[in-house]
């Protein structure tokens, strides 16, 4: 009997739990002190009549605690969810190489390691002739060399007639957009280069930086791949995640990746097919063996650039699940269930031809944040949380609707994911607006200020879906 340790919190923990139940697998849930009122804890509590399934740990990030729980409960697999340890190849490696090995629900650790490194991803891409963002192919330590690259990037943009050319300097280690600076003129380069280099040295202990062309006015489109350990690869279409906060956090995702009813300067069908085939080529090359997302930037002119590979389940997996249906079973796919099943060694059991795509699905991330003040998180107590129910709507949340819930300040103030579906873009957007208008979220913080959420922001941006030339396209 397989037993899955769910090493995450909130809505994803609940979704993994349900997937385990569907597959007939046992599971173990963990939580931290701050999360004791979360729904994921309450659901797990209810389900431990026959045996203990809920354990408190000091942190979701501490692999020592996780493996301790795994050993006590004799778990056979660990599901990292997203965030925390999901992309930490060391944890994945430790899981499978320790004296009592545990299956890591995700790709092999070697693959995690390769894709965890921006530079290496770029190297693999260019070896396969897949376009990635022009710039340095490795960390630069030498100022002269750095300037040389910057000069050429500016020249190249001028030759392509790009208005307002600019480049980005990023620390070569680290992530999450930390320390990235823009350079709009070569004369600023040295000053900003040194600034980023010093930041990187202070923050990550390494002076290396990456220099890239800053590609503007793009759509952020991603390709969902499902791969098994038996060299089988299928895709579940594309998603568009261009609508993000000022800090590059996704807020609305839509599948499919482009709206064919809109006018583009390029053939949208062909572009989506191109990035899907590039993604599959790369997955095949590295012998990818789990779920994964290939993220692309597509310019207004229709040039795609590989941004990065996310070797894990993503928050927005449900929009792809919703529109991907089995031709002969008339049911849609469940990506989390597939991920667990494949990690335990199953074969896919179907081919690309068995899948078809039906309709449009939009996901709204409802977050307690102040969208007018730089998206700063709001913390306080949610006293009333009522979301409507419809047949075309799925809601994933860890906020209980029967009792007040205090948002822990240690974690992101995500409240719910709402996934709507419609036959067409038009219908999906209308249903989305309907849902957002009916959602009731009330509460206040210690100062008596009412809760601020991003619902207005989501409403205002529905019309920007899959479009170019608006402020959100960077």
């Amino acid at each position: 009997m397989e037993r899955v340790l769910i090493a995450n919190r909130g809505e994803i923990a609940i979704r993994i739990m349900k997937a385990c139940q569907d597959l007939g697998l046992d599971y173990v849930m963990i939580y931290t002190k701050e999360d004791q009122n979360s729904l994921h804890v309450k659901l797990a509590e209810q389900n431990q009549k026959d045996r203990k399934r809920l354990f408190r740990v000091s942190s979701y990030r501490d692999p020592n605690d996780l493996f301790e729980v795994a050993d006590i409960t004799s778990s056979t697999a660990i599901h990292p969810g997203y965030g925390f340890i999901a992309e930490d190849y060391r944890v994945a490696r430790r899981a499978v190489t320790r004296e009592r090995p545990i299956k890591f629900i995700g790709p092999r650790w070697q693959v995690l390691k390769d894709f965890g490194n921006k530079i290496n991803t770029k190297k693999i891409a260019s070896a396969l002739g897949i376009p990635s963002i022009p710039g340095s192919e490795g960390p630069i330590y030498n100022e002269m060399e750095a300037e040389d690259i910057a000069v050429r990037l500016f020249e190249m943009q001028q030759e392509q007639g790009i208005p307002n050319p600019s480049i980005l300097i990023k620390p070569s280690t680290g992530g999450g957009g930390m320390g990235i600076e823009e350079v709009v003129h070569i004369d600023q380069f040295r000053r900003i280069y040194r600034q980023v280099r010093n930041y990187s040295k202070r923050q990550f202990g390494d002076e290396g930086v990456l220099i890239e062309q800053y590609i503007k006015n793009v759509n952020h489109i991603e390709v969902q791949l499902v791969c098994s350990q038996h060299k089988e690869i299928v895709h579940c279409g594309t998603r568009n995640c261009t609508i993000q906060t000022g800090r590059r956090q996704k807020r609305i995702e839509v599948a499919p990746g482009l709206d064919f009813s809109q006018a583009y300067k390029f053939d949208p069908q062909r572009i989506l097919e191109t990035i899907i085939s590039y993604s599959i080529r790369m997955a095949r090359y590295v012998d990818y063996d789990s779920l994964g997302t290939w993220e692309w930037l597509v310019t207004k002119e229709g040039t795609p650039y590989l941004l990065e590979v996310n070797p894990r389940i993503q928050v927005e997996n449900a929009v792809s699940s919703r529109i991907t249906t089995f031709k002969n079973r008339a049911s849609s796919i469940n990506l989390i269930r597939e991920q667990i099943r494949l990690a335990l060694g199953d074969k896919l059991g179907y081919k690309q031809n068995d899948l078809s795509f039906k309709g449009v699905s939009i996901e709204f991330r409802i977050v307690a944040e102040d969208t007018k003040r730089g998206f700063i998180p709001w913390s306080g107590c949610i006293s009333n949380f009522q979301l409507p129910t419809y047949s075309w709507l799925d809601v994933y949340t860890h906020v209980p609707n029967t009792e007040p819930y205090v948002i822990p300040s240690e974690y992101d103030p995500n409240l719910a994911l709402a996934v709507v579906w419609g036959e067409t873009f038009k219908e999906a957007k209308e249903r989305g607006l309907k849902f957002l208008s009916e959602a009731i979220i009330e509460g206040e913080n210690g100062y008596g200020d009412p809760v601020t959420t991003n619902i207005e922001f989501l409403k205002n941006n529905i019309d920007n879906l899959c479009r170019y030339n608006y402020s959100g396209c960077h």
């Binding site: 501490d62 020592n64 022009p134 192919e137 490795g138 330590y141 060399e145 050429r152």
Partner: protein, 748 residues
């Protein structure tokens, strides 16, 4: 009155003998003591005749015991003679050997360091009826007579700095330096300029000080002695001692005595004997040049004859050093040599002037270099077949010759021609500017209107990776364990426990949260620091031996040789970093805790010479060093000046000498050939210092904080130039090779 004085003297002699013999005092001696006590008690009841006869018999008995004591003097007893308060001090020498002197930089306790006394002094000789006097700089340790502030002649870092300053004054003024060493050891504190670092600086400067230096050892306590001991002529007093460590210290280490407890007397005596600390031992080990005889049981303050002898010996030694630099010296040398047969000071035939010409100074330095380089060369084994030895010599000789021809003859010439061309063309540019400028501006104007349309591809040059490549990496055998380690900083930095295979695998033994460095074995550095497969070891056949015949040490050496499969505590090799070839000398902890003896010193010197001949940069990577190997006694100690000599000559030849400390680096090596480098770096979390916490507590009586020797404190005190992260060691080293060092490197 006369009788009282005579009795007082008698009593002093009795007490002195008791002090020196300690527990080994002859049983019959107590009878003598009792008689003397009785005489003292009844002194005023007895008639002068009775006193006189009684005293005569006592003196006779005492003389008998004194002769007996002198005959079977043990090394530990010699140590007690040297430490006895009745022994003369530097002040007595200044009063009796020199005619006139003025102390510089100190009066009593009003002094930056009263343990070191510096004086400008006159020393004179009589030839016929004329008196000739010479100016010298006298520098030495002053133990003082009951003067607490003198610290028993234990010099603080700034005391040694003062000594160096006045040595340079002597150099400027061209007068010889007379040095009197009488110290139990240097005061082990790290405050700027730092014990170890200052000794290293002194040695570094003294290797090429352009005046004759004569030193006399009375109490030669290891590093403290070396701080001012590098000289052209090393004299030793017959009742002095010269040692790598005090017999008590050696006993504490040998017997693993816990702090606060005393080592058993037998063990101390054993160590004193095994360390070969006497004058006769030092002479036969070749670490001193000559012995100055003292009266039986050692010279005391009132031994006028001894001071006359000392004056004569100092004059003669200085003469000899000066004459050795002269080309035309046969007759005068003969005259000096003849004196050697004279029992005691006599008249000199000629006056030898002590000023040296430029050429003579150069010869002086050459001779000094030769003298130190030959020290200890008898005390290691070379296990090569004679034919192999010959072939090795021939092949390196060929390479040296090639380097010399290519760089010194061809390249130097080319460079100077280029320089001339460059200068001429620059002059020309300036002269032509007024004519050229109008055309140039037109050209620029046109060029800007039609910009180039060439698209150059983005450069894909490989960067310097912090540690090796993404490919296979060397994994420490420490990683083969499924367990976790707690970072020592976890309570302050909140570090998570580290899984051992990760920590010693791709985390390179560094806590990813706080950057604490866990120790790694030396092989890790061999495998990851240098270009793959570029490490080529040389002189691996030179091995350590039991150089001074320390009882029971053969077994220890053999044990370590078996354990490490190496012959000494230093590995010297050629390697490359991103294509740049360099010479590396690596002291590692597994062999006698990285201590330095004759074999290690010789290998280090050979590495310096190899680097110099081939114009390669030189890296001394100190995985760990516990100091000078105490089992090699003074043969080990002289490796300090010897290796510093080689380093100095390497640096002067325009090389690049980088020292990187890791884990724990202490004592002698840091206080000489490591500490003298202008580029010293430490790996994070390492310790650098002169003496360990225990020695500091025992000598200074003060406790030190646990991070006293930490790299960041060493940096704060100005002892090192920077702290390197192990993960960026390779990159930093590469940058150092490119940007630091002299002009005589093959890749420049």
């Amino acid at each position: 009155m006369e009788a009282e004085k005579r009795f007082l003297n008698l009593e002093n002699r009795i007490l002195y003998l008791i002090d020196i013999k300690g527990d080994n005092i002859y049983p019959g001696f107590f009878e003598l003591k009792a008689k003397a006590d009785k005489l003292k008690k009844n002194f005023y009841q007895l008639s002068s005749g009775e006193i006189l006869s009684e005293m005569e018999s006592l003196e006779e008995m005492l003389a008998f015991y004194e002769i007996k004591a002198e005959r079977d003097l043990t090394p530990m007893e010699i140590a007690r003679i040297v430490r006895n308060p009745q022994r003369f001090t530097l002040r007595d020498i200044l009063d009796n050997v020199y005619d006139d002197y003025s102390e510089l930089g100190g009066a009593g306790d009003c002094n930056i360091d009263p343990a070191i006394v510096v004086a400008r002094a006159d020393i004179s000789r009589k030839i016929g009826n004329r008196i000739y006097s010479h100016q010298v700089m006298v520098i030495g340790h002053e133990k003082g007579k009951g003067e607490e502030f003198r610290n028993g002649g234990s010099a603080k870092p700034w005391g040694n700095e003062k000594a160096l300053r006045y040595m340079k004054v002597a150099e400027t003024e061209g007068i010889p330096i007379h040095i009197y060493i009488s110290t139990p050891g240097a005061y082990p504190i790290e405050d700027y300029p730092g014990s170890a670092q200052q000794i290293a600086r002194n040695l570094y400067e003294m290797t090429k000080l352009k005046v004759p230096i004569i030193s006399v050892i009375s109490e030669g306590g290891s590093g403290g002695a070396e701080a001012i001991g590098l000289s052209d002529m090393r004299l030793m007093l017959s009742h002095g001692y010269y040692s790598v460590i005090s017999p008590e210290g050696a006993a504490a280490i040998e017997g693993k005595i816990p702090e606060g407890k005393k080592a058993p007397k037998e063990l101390i005596d054993f160590c004193a004997e095994q360390l070969k600390i006497t004058a006769q031992d030092s002479l036969s080990l070749g670490v001193v040049d000559r012995i100055i005889p003292e009266p039986p049981l050692g010279a005391r303050k009132e031994d006028d004859g001894f001071f006359r002898r000392l004056r004569y010996e100092m004059l003669r030694a200085t003469d000899e050093v000066v004459l050795s630099t002269k080309t035309f010296r046969t007759l005068r040398a003969y005259s000096v040599k003849r004196r050697r047969k004279m029992p005691i000071e006599g008249e000199f035939d000629v006056d030898i002037r002590w000023e040296l010409s430029h050429k003579e100074r150069m010869r002086l330095l050459r001779l000094r270099s030769k003298k130190y380089r030959s020290m200890g060369t008898r005390f290691f084994v070379d296990l090569r077949h004679p034919f192999k030895k010959f072939m090795d010599k021939a092949s390196s000789g060929l390479r040296y010759f090639y380097t010399e021809v290519y760089f010194d003859l061809l390249k130097k010439h080319k460079r100077s021609v280029e320089k001339v061309i460059e200068e001429v063309s620059q002059e020309g540019t300036i002269a032509l500017a007024p004519i050229k400028n109008p055309f140039k501006s037109i050209y620029t104007f046109i060029k800007d209107r039609f910009p180039r349309r060439v698209l150059r591809p983005i450069d894909h040059r490989l960067p310097v990776n912090a540690v090796a490549d993404f490919g296979e990496i060397y994994v420490s055998p420490l990683a083969n364990e499924d367990r976790v380690i707690t970072c020592p900083n976890s309570h302050t930095h909140g570090c998570l426990d580290l899984w051992v295979p990760d920590l010693y695998g791709d985390l390179h033994g560094v806590c990813p949260n706080c950057g604490h460095h866990f120790p790694l074995e030396y092989q890790w550095y061999l495998k990851t620091l240098f270009d793959k497969g570029s490490v080529r070891e040389f002189n691996s056949h030179i091995g350590s031996t039991n150089s001074i015949g320390y009882k029971g040490f053969d077994r220890k050496i053999q044990g370590d040789q078996k354990k490490t499969k190496r012959k000494s505590a230093i590995i010297t090799f050629l390697a490359r970093i991103n294509g740049i070839e360099l010479v590396v000398a690596m002291l590692y902890s597994n062999f006698r805790n990285g201590t330095v003896g004759a074999a290690e010193g010789e290998k280090f010197v050979l590495a310096c010479d190899h680097a110099r001949a081939l114009k390669l940069p030189l890296l001394a990577y100190v995985h760990a060093t516990g100091g000078i190997r105490i089992h090699e006694g003074t043969v080990g100690v002289v490796q300090m000046p010897k290796c510093t000599m080689a380093v100095r000559e390497y640096i002067d030849a325009g090389g690049l000498y980088i020292v990187v400390y890791d884990n724990n680096s202490y004592a002698g090596p840091v206080a000489s050939f490591l500490g003298c480098s202008p580029y010293q770096f430490a790996i994070k979390s390492s310790n650098i210092g002169f003496a360990g916490p225990r020695v500091i507590r025992e000598t200074t009586g003060e406790d030190i904080p646990p991070d006293y020797h930490r790299a960041d404190n060493a940096l704060k005190r100005g002892h090192i130039q920077g702290i390197w992260d192990r993960r960026t060691f390779r990159k930093n080293l590469y940058m150092a090779l490119l940007t630091m060092g002299g002009k005589n490197l093959y890749y420049r």
